[in-house]
């Protein structure tokens, strides 16, 4: 992967676009208080590769696993870690949505437990 001088600016801009993977990464890093370097290490890649991955579209829907594998294969990153980060953030988004909705406390507790299990797995 080349490292052009516009790459970082592109990744930063992508972090503000909800459809881009970069926006999920930015949120995750923020919640986990991770530096770019630490996060790149977690995905098993360099910071430059992380920037390129940030410019991908966020995998969603039925093709989620297929898309995660495509990204991992193309950039040589850890598919398992990427999938875990994305699932974790999906669960967090769902939890936030339910916190703002009139969900029963029991149902919220189930969601919380699911999120914890996901994190610890």
């Amino acid at each position: 992967m080349t490292n052009p001088d516009w790459l970082e600016a592109a990744a930063e801009r992508g972090a503000r676009v909800p459809e881009m993977l970069g926006s999920v990464f930015a949120w995750y890093r923020d919640l986990e208080d991770l530096s770019v370097q630490d996060f790149a290490r977690r995905l098993g890649c360099t910071v430059e590769t992380l920037y390129w991955v940030s410019l991908c579209r966020k995998p969603e829907g039925a093709a989620f696993s297929e898309h995660v594998n495509q990204i991992a294969d193309h950039f040589g990153i850890d598919a398992f870690e990427l999938s875990k980060v994305l699932r974790d953030m999906e669960a967090t988004a769902a939890l936030l949505a339910t916190e703002n909705s009139p969900l029963e406390p029991e149902a919220r507790a189930v969601l919380m437990a699911a999120l914890d299990r996901e994190k610890n797995s």
């Binding site: 080349t2 052009p4 516009w6 600016a9 592109a10 801009r13 992508g14 676009v17 459809e19 881009m20 993977l21 390129w52 991955v53 410019l55 991908c56 579209r57 966020k58 995998p59 969603e60 898309h67 495509q70 990204i71 193309h74």
Partner: protein, 200 residues
Amino acid sequence: MSYPSREEEWALHDQVLKRMPVAYSKVFALFMPFLLKTLESEMRCDPEEVRDAALKAIFDYLGRPETYDRDQSLLRSFLTLAARRNVLDSLRSTERRVIREKNFADVIELRARPPNEEMEAAVETALALKRLERRNMPQEDLGVLRLVLQGESSTLELARPLGKEGLPEPERKRVVKQNRDRLLKQLRRLGKEEDTHDES
């Protein structure tokens, strides 16, 4: 730098339309170098401005890939056109900001004289008025001149010492102009006389 072929562009566009994640990153890799090179050679502007314009063009396209019609043009032409428009928009907005700031600075400059100039002007005005008073100038004329020397330009204000503020506006304007011109002529004459006295 090698340009993508028409077939490569079409294949990539199809992948973007299918929302395939890696295709998005490939669009940047494939078109950013081309856009930067083209814009930098065509438009005389800041490299950062060019970079932002090119990035905006690509992000806009990825946000709404359906806006590109492959029967109309090559994808690189479509993106170049969008990026060029972004550069022009940015230049125009910078130009507007500069004009706005200049206008604002001009107004500030006109309204707020530096304190030393303000004091000098006040002293000069007071001296000039004393000289005029010594010449037994009518009070109405002195009133107008005092206001003119203080920088007053409103015809209503200038009409007050003349007792003409009640006139209809067009008439008031005409009377004020007439009196102001007459008084300024007198002032010039007075100035010349004073110079001659000083010299003699």
